[in-house]
């Protein structure tokens, strides 16, 4: 049945094929590219080059194409919080915040206002209509590319109006499809890393925005091991770039923004039995007390059998400490049932 679908096109092969698939399925498709970051270092994802790629694919598919300038909203909801979280010694996931506030936030609202029935993206995940009338969010067909984790915050309202056409394909199948349609982006390399950090990496990006606060690097026994220039260079679980010469392998076990102290420990010192979550959301019904739950603590991490009491996830086997600010997603088989942010 032909729906009016607004496809977020980044210029990459996944969203290009998503648009093409929807057209083949008989929908009324419109493409949009989001202008999110227009800083002087505009060479990251959704730069002018990427917009051009998206526009060309849209022209090839003969669909209308718009560009939405969401730089202000992106700055307030993604970039600024990213900087502030790092300043507080936490490890945010900006792609998650972009999905929450921009792609399934501002873009969603605009799509509805403009009369579209649904929004589509090139994410590797699946939305399924369940027998009981609800919607489920499931892992993509290509396990190595599954992106359900970064969509953990979607609820019934969003899922009912979201289409994820490439989630049923493997990445190889997506590229084949693009090549078959002679889409310009068939062989385009994937974008990596944070889209708004394009030159110099995370450290210099943050250094430009956070006043450095030097402090101590200490061991678990409190002994001072060295000094550092700023806690934002450190993440829980980090092994490299610690700035101290150590005998055995050490990891960042804790970051205290208040005292600007970084604590190092051994591998086993990182292990935890639990992680507490804030801002917990559920895709549908609450999974509290549900059997068969698994927790995934990284974008492409291995899920761990767990239980969840509404606030705290209890791992069946101890896991390396989840850095505060990171997402913990909860699954039952291949369905993501909810998640939250580690505290």
């Amino acid at each position: 049945m032909g729906e009016r679908v607004l496809v977020a096109m980044s210029g990459g092969v996944d969203s290009s094929v998503a648009a093409a698939l929807l057209l083949e399925q008989g929908h009324d498709v419109t493409g949009v590219t989001l202008k999110l970051w227009g800083g002087e270092s505009d060479s990251g994802c959704c730069s002018v080059g990427d917009v051009e790629d998206a526009r060309r694919v849209a022209a090839q598919l003969d669909i209308p194409h718009y560009v939405f300038n969401l730089t202000d909203t992106f700055d307030h909801t993604v970039v600024e919080p990213y900087v502030r979280e790092h300043e507080a010694g936490r490890t945010p996931n900006p792609c998650v915040e972009c999905n929450r506030s921009i792609k399934f936030g501002a873009l969603f609202q605009r799509a509805e206002a403009l009369g579209f029935d649904a929004v589509a993206t090139g994410h590797h995940a699946r939305v399924t209509a369940e027998p009981d009338g609800s919607y489920a969010l499931r892992r993509g067909a290509d396990a190595a590319k599954d992106q359900s984790y970064v969509l953990y915050m979607l609820g019934q309202r969003e899922l009912g109006r979201t289409r994820l056409p490439v989630g049923v394909l493997t990445k190889a199948q997506v590229r084949e499809h693009a090549a078959r349609l002679e889409l310009r982006t068939a062989a385009k390399a994937e974008s990596m890393d944070v889209c708004f950090i394009t030159r110099g990496g995370r450290r210099s990006f943050l250094a430009e925005r956070i006043d450095p606060r030097a402090g101590s690097v200490v061991g678990l026994d409190g002994a001072t091991l060295g000094e550092h220039d700023g806690i934002e260079a450190f993440t829980i679980g980090q092994r490299r770039g610690l700035g101290v010469a150590t005998g055995e392998r050490r990891y960042v076990v804790d970051v205290d923004a208040r005292t600007a102290t970084v604590t190092l420990g051994g591998c086993t010192d990182l292990l935890r039995h639990t992680v507490s979550l804030r801002d917990v959301t559920f895709v549908d019904a609450s999974p509290v007390g549900r059997a068969g739950l698994c927790a995934q603590t990284r974008a492409h991490g291995v899920p761990v059998a767990s239980t969840f009491d509404g606030t705290t996830v209890h791992f069946a086997t101890p896991q390396p400490r989840v850095a505060p600010g990171q997402v913990v997603a909860l699954y039952v088989d291949d369905a993501l049932v909810g998640g939250g942010i580690a505290t």
Binding site: K35, L61, V67, A113
Partner: protein, 410 residues
């Protein structure tokens, strides 16, 4: 390349929604560009065929092209109140502005003159970006704010001029809000303070509405752009009054008296002359006709859409300009809604990616940011009809209502 999946069996690669405006589209963006006049097409066609010569040559083929080029120059000069030797062909208004601003300032400083430039904050980016470049070269640039009426105060311009000022640049008509600037008065006041100062005006938006020959008679450097009055995109001119020295941007074979090297766009110049001729001949009548259309459009919108407002003083605007805002609506979203209803309009300026950028013009006028983000420009021109206004009056209020209902906030 295989046919796109959405196209019918006989559709070529350019069929469908991306093929460009057609009879079913209501085009309200004449300030962005105008259709090419049939007179311009007719005039230039021979130069796409048998008369293809390079005017910079010595043989008969060159002579034929040269004759046509110079005839075009003479006609354009006459219509602009200049001598033929004062007309420099460029590849458009932006190039003309760049040549004027950078060329005059750099030459003045090199000749031991001043190193300051006075301009307004709501000039076209062609002028402002040129000023930014000059600033990086050590020039002192003053960018004056503009009243909310959109009309510059001559006294304010003059007051900013000092013994180091080499150039004053004030546009004749603003491209976003369409307001006409008191150029004669500005020049008079500026010359009172500093007789030797050069004055440049971006007259790109003025040609369809104002007799530039008269309005810019005392201005040293006048920039025009053909595609704003029915000529081709990529063609324009700069009037450089006799005796004024500029540092050229493009150097090479020395064409255009050394001010703009490069093989002349003969077809473009011929088209420009034809378009300008028709525009000037029809201007008086067109102003009346189009002002009536514009007033019906704006008055209609202000009357039927709640919380609507107009930017810039209507009485000071050229006949084709309408700039209106709708509180609580994002301009960018409204433009998409209008496009989906086959109405073409604009807001602020477009950046190279096609996204809408916040308007520096409205900011310069002191318009509240929320109002600026809720404002769009509707511009009429020689191809505009009553039907365009009828459609706009039907589509725009409906789109605004739909967006407000859906809660798209500015």
């Amino acid at each position: 390349m295989s046919s796109p999946p959405n196209a019918g069996p006989n559709a070529g690669p350019n069929a469908g929604p991306n093929a460009g405006p057609n009879a079913d589209v209501t085009y309200l963006d004449h300030a962005a560009t105008t259709p090419v006049r049939p007179e311009a097409v007719a005039a230039m066609t021979p130069f796409l065929g048998g008369t293809f010569g390079n005017p910079s040559g010595g043989h008969s083929a060159a002579r034929a092209a040269k004759t046509a080029l110079e005839a075009a120059r003479e006609e354009i000069a006459s219509l602009l109140g200049a001598e033929p030797g004062e007309v420099v062909f460029t590849a458009g208004g932006t190039e003309a502005d760049n040549l004027a601003v950078k060329g005059a300032a750099r030459r003045a400083r090199a000749d031991g003159g001043g190193d300051a430039v006075v301009t307004t904050a709501f000039e076209h980016k062609g002028v402002l970006a040129s000023c930014d470049r000059l600033a990086a070269e050590g020039f002192r640039i003053t960018r004056l704010p503009v009243p909310a009426t959109g009309v510059v105060d001559p006294g304010a311009i003059a007051a900013a001029v000092d013994p180091d000022t080499a150039l004053v640049s004030v546009m004749l008509v603003n491209n976003e809000v369409g307001t006409i600037q008191p150029l004669e008065e500005i020049v008079r006041r500026v010359r009172e303070r500093a007789p030797g100062v050069l004055v440049h005006t971006d007259a790109v938006q003025a040609v369809p509405w104002i007799d530039v020959a008269e309005a810019a008679a005392s201005v040293d450097l006048v920039a025009i752009s053909a595609h704003k009055f029915g000529g081709l995109k990529g063609t324009g001119a700069l009037v450089v009054r006799g005796g004024i020295a500029l540092e050229p941007l493009l150097e090479g074979g020395g064409q255009e008296r050394g001010l703009r090297s490069g093989t002349s766009n003969v077809a473009g110049a011929v088209a420009m002359a034809a378009a300008l001729r028709v525009t000037c001949a029809e201007r008086a009548a067109e102003i009346v006709r189009i002002a009536a259309l514009r007033d019906r459009l704006v008055d209609g919108l202000l009357a039927t859409v709640p919380d609507a407002f107009e930017n810039g003083e209507r009485a000071a605007k050229v006949a084709g300009n309408a700039h209106v805002g709708f509180r609580g609506v994002e301009a960018e979203t409204l433009l998409v809604a209008l496009d989906r209803a086959d109405v073409c309009a604009a807001a602020g300026s477009s950046c190279s990616s096609g996204a809408t950028e916040p308007s520096h013009v409205l900011a310069a006028m002191g318009i509240a940011p929320d109002d600026a983000l809720a404002s769009i420009r509707l511009s009429l021109g020689f191809a505009s009809t009553d039907r365009d206004v009828d459609v706009a009056l039907a589509v725009i209020p409906r789109a605004v209502e739909q967006l407000r209902h859906a809660g798209a906030a500015a």
